[in-house]
Amino acid sequence: MRAFLFRRFAVLCAVALLASAPLKSAVALPSFAIQTGNPCAACHVGAYGPQLTSFGRDFKLYGYVSSDKKDHFPPISVMVQTSYARTQTPETSPVAEGYRKNDNWGINETTIYYGGIIIPDRVGAFIQGTYDGVSRTFGLNTSDIRYVRDGTLFDEDMVWGITVNNNPTMSDIWNSSPNWGFPYASSPFSASSGPGSTPPTTLIDGALATNVVGTGAYLMWNDLLYVEANVYKQLGNHELSILQGLTPSLTYNIPDAFPYWRAALQNAWENGKYYGQVGTYGLTAAANPNGDRSTGKTDRYTDIAFDANFQWYANLKNVTADVLSAHATWIHETQSLGASSVLSGANASDVLNTLRADISYAIKATWIPTFQYFKVTGSTDAQVFNGRPNTEGWVAELGYVPWGKPDSPVNWANTRLTLQYTNYNQFNGMSAHASDNNTLFFNIWMAFGLNGI
């Protein structure tokens, strides 16, 4: 047992030493498939993910420790992403040295994961270290370590756990919240402004990924009610420079610890053939704009979100049977700009709302068409939003996953091809030239489980 734990700890340390800029990257890990003896399609809609099936949600809920009890090599996986992107109008300048204003190809991401058991039946982890091929930096990506126990509460089954992670909603088990929501991959060549850029986002929608660390507890009671509460603290510049491999440039400088909450109700009907969930999540944090504390005031951001999920399984006995999935989330952010209103003449308060709703149909866990509608609305503020943030459009995507199924030739490798088109009807308050940001994106995502070779 000691040798087992030492081996796992040594591997964990090796993975954790890698650091990167925050990237949205989390999918089916072959190491999970090898650990459980089940194919990727058992946990993931479309056999690749990160979209989770009911079993996939349970696997995460129970701490990534479910296993076939065989003695496997430590659960290490490697993923490589190669991407191509073209915007309707070329960007004003290349996103990074070595890239062009448009039609960029690149191995944009190579990630090593520790995904699975640390202590059998008790502690598991999803830890990723990523080399970003655009910024050319190594860093710790969004990660989650859990301690889990189960039992009964009020005579009903319950499972509870403690999570340590580095992004609000990283610990979530639903694909409606920001860390895990669609699109699961997008252009890594986005500009910071002008054609090819992205609309404003709320604080909870990725801005804090990997620059905070937090811990908290969660509970799922009677397979019905889920509650979670975490506290996060932003890392200092020294820690961030080590973990991200570059000098941090934070939009939000948050000096104090801040809370995150999550609650949800879920239910399944007809033995799990139909699944539904509704919930809420949010956070509140006070920030010094660009680290400036000269006013003695802060900007407070309060995000309150609601979400819903639905799934229909054609045949629960067959993990490659068709699955219909739908997710929706609405994030409402109030910004009390006590500091920014003094420093830059911003409004005393603003609001920013984000709506995303998507539907996908996984055909035999191989072809996965998805459509998403998105809309951003907010206050008119020349300093904060350079006008109005209002943006509206849709995303259409086709995914292809040849493996990850019970009859696949190997269980230690998988791949996903994605063809995606993002269309803007309105962008940052403007309808004219919104289509300049329309983006065609193609991605090849390969995964290898070293514990299965």
Binding site: P39, D68, K317, V319
Partner: protein, 107 residues
């Protein structure tokens, strides 16, 4: 003749009583669930777990004293049989699918 008849009858009754006391109970695993959450059996009964899913299961039988009988990996389509040898309550669960649980009460 009478003695032989009585002896044969006694032998038949003993064999027949053995058949009545030992039964096989079938539990299906489908949709990553057990077909029943609670089962009452008699000591000496067997329970046959069939895997009707297309994924592997791994069942353990835990008795009230904390002893665990790991029945091992069970591939799709396979059946495993275990015998309940003493009275008491048993907790059955799958190591791979944590919500797959059931209870057996043996009398």
């Amino acid at each position: 003749m009478t003695l032989k008849f009585v002896s044969l009858t006694a032998l038949f009754l003993v064999c027949a009583s053995g058949i009545v006391f030992s039964a096989d109970n079938a539990v299906d695993q489908a949709n990553q669930q057990f077909s029943t959450k609670n089962l009452t059996v008699k000591v000496g009964d067997t329970i046959t777990f069939k895997n009707s899913d297309d994924v592997t299961h791994n069942i353990s039988v835990d008795d009230a004293d904390g002893n665990t009988d790991d029945l091992g990996l069970q591939k799709p389509g396979e059946s495993l049989t275990t015998k309940i040898s003493k009275a008491g309550d048993y907790a059955i669960h799958c190591h791979i699918h944590p919500k797959m649980k059931m209870k057996i009460s043996a009398q």
